[in-house]
């Protein structure tokens, strides 16, 4: 078996633009999911009970539906209901955000409930209000404990953006398929994609591990 990577090299500009789209989609999704998921996680813990039940239902639904289904539904079915067709990139960003926010919300909740009740009791005993106790005592400790899980959300999101290829977002996976189809050298193209994705995602997981190892002591109580 001889490998011929010339197809990858001749299309490098086209593929590189795809890497750009992969990174842009990942960054946008991560930013939106952290904000939305953070808000949902807080509301899930401290919101009124009606809202809490609605959020639990939303979170558990996202945990049970494949991200592919959410993507395909957002891109193909949502326009039929709303009459508005989102461009693939924005459909993917919305669908991934809706999906990943649920996971972020669960991480936020797990972080909050990991702080022992004695901590908030101590805060109340010192005359702090509920808001003060949450903001000054619980969240700072919870945040550090959320870090490793939130860090893994980074690599999960980058990996999930590859599924956006299915709804024709011109990110790296989608462009690899195009080049594979046109060049009749799919093996070389997907081997190159393996190297590229690994080079993007592996450092992210490593940096997250290293940063957490440095900060872990802050989470002890």
């Amino acid at each position: 078996m001889s490998l011929d990577f010339s197809a990858v090299f001749t299309s490098w500009q086209f593929l590189l633009a795809g890497v750009g789209d992969t990174l842009a989609l990942s960054a946008l999704t991560i930013a939106l999911s952290l904000v939305l998921g953070g808000a949902i996680g807080l509301a899930r813990c401290y919101g009124p009970s009606g809202l809490r039940w609605a959020l639990i239902f939303y979170i558990d639904s996202m945990r049970s539906i494949p991200v592919l289904v959410v993507l395909v539904w957002t891109y193909f079915a949502l326009p039929i209901v709303t009459g508005v067709t989102l461009p693939p990139f924005w459909a993917a960003a919305s669908a991934l955000t809706v999906h990943i926010s649920a996971y972020v919300a669960e991480i936020v909740r797990a972080g909050i409930i990991s702080v022992r009740p004695g901590q908030s009791r101590a805060a109340f005993a010192l005359g702090m209000s509920r808001t003060q106790a949450i903001r000054e005592i619980i969240l700072p400790q919870a945040l550090v404990r959320m870090l490793p899980a939130l860090g893994s959300i980074l690599s999960i999101t980058i990996k999930d953006t590859a599924i956006a290829a299915v709804i024709a977002v011109p990110e790296y996976m989608n462009r690899s398929q195009t080049v594979a189809g046109q060049s009749f050298h799919p093996i070389e193209v997907f081997l190159a994609a393996t190297v590229v994705y690994f080079t993007i995602i592996f450092p992210v997981t490593r940096v997250v591990d290293i940063v957490y190892a440095r900060l872990a002591y802050l989470g002890r109580s």
Partner: protein, 219 residues
């Protein structure tokens, strides 16, 4: 806008076949990936350097690649690399198996590492061999401890099987999307697909929560 939900009932048999394939893929993959994960964990903890490095490379590679890429790569590379023609479903099981084994490998390694050293020391003190200590003392405790994580991996796997639809495996996602393009009832079929996944996945997600509470390790 007029909707015609009868298309879902008319294609119920196709959706049922797809659902069976989805369940089959998840069950078969997990049946491969649990022994696979234990083997990877034992290799990683082995004193033979080559084995330990090989396991680390395998685990890190598949944990840091998008599954959809692994599926496409398996589809194109397996037949050429092995000289054997793989059916789409066999390709799917190989790709999912590689992915989930890598995750399970990390899970089991963490589980084994979480068993206090006194346990294996006590085993050695009783004259047990390294092998017997692992099989009779460490693994039974580790398996119980990793059960919640394995349960989450199961739910992830169940959802991830939908990705094999890209290589034309007739699972629930593939069949729903095929009926969609044949009938042009896009909203109806995609909603039906989402609802079926939800009905299957929701109880599993709740079961995972229950297992998490039941087997929580308290310090």
């Amino acid at each position: 806008m007029n909707y015609d939900w009868s298309v879902v009932w008319r294609n119920a048999d196709v959706l049922w076949e797809g659902t069976k394939v989805t369940v089959f893929l998840a069950v078969t993959t997990m049946a491969i990936a649990i022994p696979g994960g234990i083997a990877l964990a034992l290799m990683r903890l082995s004193r033979i350097r080559t084995l330990s490095i090989a396991s680390a490379v395998f685990v890190e590679l598949f944990r840091n690649l998008p599954l959809i890429l692994v599926i496409y790569s398996a589809y194109y590379i397996l037949p050429v690399a092995t000289g054997v023609r793989f059916s789409p479903i066999a390709t799917a099981i190989v790709a999912l198996g590689l992915n989930v084994s890598a995750y399970n490998g990390e899970t089991f390694r963490a589980g084994i590492a979480s068993i206090r050293q006194g346990q294996s020391e006590a085993g050695y003190a009783l004259g047990m061999s390294r092998f017997r200590v692992m099989i009779d003392v460490i693994l039974p405790q580790a398996v119980r401890r990793v059960l919640p994580v394995l349960a989450s991996s199961w739910v992830s796997l169940f959802k991830d099987t939908s990705l094999v639809s890209v290589i034309s495996v007739g699972d629930l996602a593939f069949e729903s999307m095929r009926v969609r393009s044949q009938t042009f009832r896009v909203l109806e079929m995609l909603t039906a697909m989402a609802v079926i996944y939800w009905m299957l996945g929701y109880p599993q997600a709740k079961l995972v929560d229950w297992i998490n509470n039941r087997y929580r390790v308290s310090e």
